[in-house]
């Protein structure tokens, strides 16, 4: 049926799009008087050239996997959850409260509790928008935008006035007890004898993110609930016919989505900062939208897109460290990558398709020659 082999669709198109984006970025870099080739080298070697680079890349990717999955799950039910930012922030609060106020003897006990706390708080923050959508049809896009702002206010209040240690300038909680500190990738991998940089913030949460991808994949494509979520997303009228309750599906999906966004906190709050700081989410909720859409709302796609964004973040940081390229340019590069790989991919696909068709025509079933006119 398809004009193009699958590998072209999955690998070739994103690759060419990526090259186009980098080419354009190169022009911008050239315009500000830096060497684009060197910049690319720095980005690649800085993000992927050492376990240290990978450590950062994977750390960012972990954040994006969670927020990306959150958006992707909601998208399967055609719900557009832009509230990842707020949900992840509340998830951070859940992690902080659990780590600060429950005396854990060991991280193995703290981790499941923290995951639960993060997920519950995140889910709670998605619950009200979900409820309003399910019951009253209030558009989830507006309510989640509003809840991002409300969440920021609540966190600001709690961090400045309630949770901040009295002498600290920083609107952040106290440091979590050492027993709650998660092992880094260095700690984990050295057990199996793989040397890994000690300095990088990537931690065991990365594996939990991978696990989350698998669980979500199973959930969406191999469970009754996932089946119902997808069916509802494809056609609400058909879902009603099949006895799938729209209210239930909207609620459950939003809870799962919020929970996933909240779980990002185990990586950045528990794994990296080891305390809850203000604005800990740092826009990962919004990047999650791009990650989910680029990943075509599929866990594997989300995983790959998250790695790409992790690469861009870490590569960008290396660029800042090694050159005088301003951070704004890195934002521009990220924007171009999103634009070309996510929205302008058809620009690449269309000519590629006709190329494949051209090569395939002769070998395909011979058809009656068209009347030459």
């Amino acid at each position: 049926m398809d004009a193009m082999p699958k590998w072209a669709e999955v690998i070739l198109i994103p690759l060419i799009s990526l090259i186009l984006a980098f080419f354009l970025s190169g022009l911008v870099i050239l315009a500000i008087g830096e060497n684009p080739i060197r910049a690319l080298q720095i980005m690649i070697s800085g993000a992927l050239g050492s376990t240290y680079g990978w450590g950062y890349t994977l750390y960012y990717a972990t954040n994006f996997i969670f927020t990306g999955l959150a958006v992707a799950v909601a998208f399967q039910a055609r719900l557009f959850n832009i509230g990842g930012e707020g949900q992840a922030a509340l998830g951070g609060l859940g992690v902080a409260l659990i780590c600060l106020y429950i005396p854990f003897p060991h991280w193995t006990m703290a981790l499941p509790a923290a995951i639960l706390g993060a997920a519950i708080f995140g889910a709670f923050w998605a619950m009200i928008p979900g409820y309003l959508q399910a019951r009253l049809g209030v558009h989830v896009v507006i309510t989640t935008i509003m809840f991002n702002f409300i969440g920021a206010s609540i966190l600001n209040y709690l961090l400045v006035d309630i949770l901040r240690p009295p002498t600290s300038m920083n609107p952040a909680t106290a440091r979590f007890p050492d027993a709650t500190n998660l092992p880094s990738l260095h700690d984990v991998l050295s057990v199996v004898g793989i040397p890994f940089s000690r300095a990088a913030p990537a931690n065991i949460s990365f594996f939990i993110a991978i696990l989350a991808c698998i669980v979500i994949w199973v959930l969406i494509w191999h469970t009754r609930l996932g089946y119902q979520i997808r069916a509802f997303g494809q056609s609400e009228s058909a879902a009603k016919y099949a006895g799938i309750s729209p209210e239930k599906i909207i609620m459950v999906t939003m809870l799962i989505s919020g929970g996933l966004a909240g779980m990002m906190a185990i990586n950045n709050v528990m794994g990296e900062a080891e305390r809850l700081v203000q604005n800990a989410v740092e826009g990962a909720g919004f990047i999650g939208i791009a990650v989910a859409l680029m990943g075509r709302s599929h866990p594997i796609g989300v995983f790959l897109a998250a790695i790409l964004f992790g690469f861009l973040y870490q590569g960008g940081a290396e660029l800042s460290l090694e050159t005088s390229i301003p951070s704004d340019l890195i934002v521009v590069i990220q924007a171009l990558v999103i634009l070309f790989t996510g929205a302008l991919d058809d620009m690449v696909r269309a000519p590629l398709k006709s190329m494949f068709l051209m090569f395939r025509k002769p070998e395909a079933t011979p058809k009656a020659p068209k009347p030459a006119e």
């Binding site: 960012y60 702002f149 966190l155 920083n170 740092e282 301003p326």
Partner: protein
């Protein structure tokens, strides 16, 4: 060795103290003809990353702007005993760290007095960026100054927002100013980064006085900015760069006594600052330096005696 500076998340163009720090660094570079390394952070995780990278790359000293670095520095400092670190706005007690803190409340106290004296309505305003302890420290010092000059004066306080956008929302700053004006304020003090641009602009448009912050902002609207509460982050950076790797470590308080904070008078606002004002403010300054007056520091007990 090349010195390095790490700017906090707001970026070096934050119209606030990152920008002041950047100013100090460039001044040093221009005067000495040397170069320095710099990075603008984009995420929390980069704090430690940047510190380690610069330290491993041989940069010395390494200056960082902002209280948020305290944690990362505490972890990193011991690993690089031969590198000097300078932390601005927060204290880290390590042998190779210089901590520079500013008595913003003292400077704010002085401009508060000036605001009260310049005000005809007896109502003055304060506009902060995000509601964080540092800004409350500014506000508390300011209110004390206002009340010292005019016990009956009223201070209207506003914060801009709860997300990082609060530091960059001149339009909201402008509206807050208008709201304060409509409540009678005729002098407004902005401690709000980029948002302050809008505050000063609107004050000038509406013909009331404003007070700038961090760097000398008198020139932005000559004759309309009463004064600026200068916080000489630039000097701190300049000094650190000049002293080089062997800089003196320990705890440095930049206050009125060593001109670390103060109020700015120049050609742009000379006509606004009356002799009476100067006299009163200079007297208070002397008393603060001598210890006769203590300005309450919000951070000491997380509360402000007046508001």
């Amino acid at each position: 060795a090349e010195p390095a500076i790490i700017f906090d998340l707001g970026g070096k163009f934050d119209k606030s103290f990152n920008e002041a720090a950047f100013g100090g660094a460039t001044r040093w570079a221009e005067e000495t003809g040397n170069t320095f390394r710099e990075i603008e952070l984009q995420s929390e995780a980069q704090r430690e990353q940047a510190l380690r990278r610069f330290a491993e790359g041989g940069s010395n000293p390494i200056v960082m702007t902002g209280f948020a670095f305290a944690d990362a520095l505490t972890e990193v400092a011991d690993d690089y005993p031969d590198t000097s670190f300078v932390l601005i706005d927060m204290v880290v007690d390590k042998p190779n760290v210089r901590s520079v803190v500013f008595n913003e409340h003292e400077g704010s106290y002085l401009v508060g007095m000036m605001a009260a004296k310049a005000s005809e309505s007896g109502t003055v305003g304060f506009i902060g960026g995000m509601d964080i302890p540092l800004i409350r420290k500014f506000a508390c010092g300011y209110v004390q100054g206002v009340k010292a000059a005019n016990p009956d004066a009223k201070v209207i306080q506003n914060m801009t927002g709860t997300t990082p956008a609060a530091w960059n929302d001149p339009v909201k700053g402008s509206e807050l100013t208008k709201a304060q004006i409509s409540q009678g304020a005729d002098v407004v003090y902005a401690a709000a980064g980029g948002t302050g641009v809008g505050v000063l602009q609107t004050a000038a448009d509406e013909n009331i006085l404003s007070i700038g912050v961090d760097s000398n902002q008198n020139h932005l609207h000559p004759g309309k900015v009463l004064t600026s509460m200068v916080k000489r982050v630039d000097n701190a950076v300049y000094a650190a760069f000049t002293e080089g790797p062997g800089l003196e470590k320990g705890f440095q308080v930049m206050g009125l006594n060593n001109d670390g904070v103060g109020y700015a008078v120049d050609d742009n606002n000379a006509t606004l600052v009356t002799a009476d004002m100067t006299a009163a403010v200079e007297e208070a300054k002397a008393k603060i330096v001598s210890g006769e007056i203590t300005v309450h520091d919000y951070m000491s007990d997380n509360s402000c005696p007046v508001n």
